[in-house]
């Protein structure tokens, strides 16, 4: 591996760690918001959304785990550097995938909850979608 690649790997590694550090507060907030939404849905008896809410929570958990992993990961050692460089292209995609799931299922529920008792969940659901959108923008802009 030449010096240019090593410098490039170091730079990209730092950028990803910085991005994940910036993402952490809204990622944690998203997890809290989803927790509140799920509890309220349970309280008011919106049981048909349980599977979709579980998927959204699972996606949020994956995102939390991934950002924590990227914040804590040491820079790749020289022998693995080249493979890491090739793989880092997918990191942003890996960060976006759970967010797209949260947003997509959120929008599905939005359509479901326009009417009836579940409409009381709309403020919490809107918050969840807004946070997911904020995180997607941060990933795209960083």
């Amino acid at each position: 591996m030449d010096l240019t690649s090593a410098a490039r790997i170091g730079q990209i590694h730092r950028e990803m760690a910085e991005l994940c550090l910036a993402l952490k507060p809204p990622v944690d907030e998203l997890s809290d918001q989803l927790g509140r939404l799920s509890r309220k849905a349970l309280e008011i008896g919106v049981s048909d959304a349980a599977a979709d809410l579980d998927r959204m929570c699972a996606a949020s958990d994956r995102l939390q785990a991934l950002t924590a992993e990227l914040i804590g990961a040491p820079p790749p050692a020289a022998p693995e550097g080249r493979a890491w460089l090739a793989g880092h292209e997918h990191l942003r995609h890996d960060l976006r995938t759970p967010l797209n799931a949260v947003r997509g299922y959120g929008e599905l529920l939005m359509e479901d909850w326009q009417e009836g008792g579940a409409s009381r969940l709309m403020p919490e659901l809107r918050q969840v979608i807004a946070t997911a959108n904020q995180l997607l923008s941060m990933i795209d802009d960083h």
Partner: protein, 124 residues
């Protein structure tokens, strides 16, 4: 309108198919490029939504095979990719896609593209 959705990601498949069914479309699904090619014949779809990053046979190759077969080449294909990267659109169109869109899906935009093919195929 019968649409074949070729998508390997279970959540994406579930979300998109449910939203399209609500809008009145009939959806059949394939989970990889190979199954997509087979179902383009067996399911007789009127349009295909093709994720390009697929296992077994990727979306570009599946599109080339569907567009290369006389019995399926008339079926419009909208290619879908997760990365809005420069060159993706051209790559999809080169493989034979008639249209292209990026994920995450904006439903109204995608439906606009789907409907443009309905008016073309119905002659309206």
């Amino acid at each position: 309108m019968k649409i074949l959705l070729v998508e390997d990601n279970e959540m994406n498949r579930d979300m998109l198919s449910r939203r399209l069914v609500r809008k009145g479309y009939e959806i059949v699904m394939a989970v990889d490029g190979g199954e997509g090619v087979l179902m383009s014949v067996s399911a007789s779809p009127e349009l295909i939504l093709m994720d390009m990053s697929l296992p077994v046979i990727d979306g570009w190759e599946a599109t080339r095979r569907i567009k290369g077969a006389p019995e399926t080449r008339h079926i419009p294909i909208i290619g879908l990719t997760a990365h809005a990267m420069a060159g993706d659109r051209e790559k999809a169109l080169e493989a034979g896609c008639d249209e292209y869109d990026t994920k995450p899906i904006e439903l109204e935009r995608l439906i606009g593209k789907i409907e443009s093919f309905r008016s073309k195929t119905s002659g309206g």
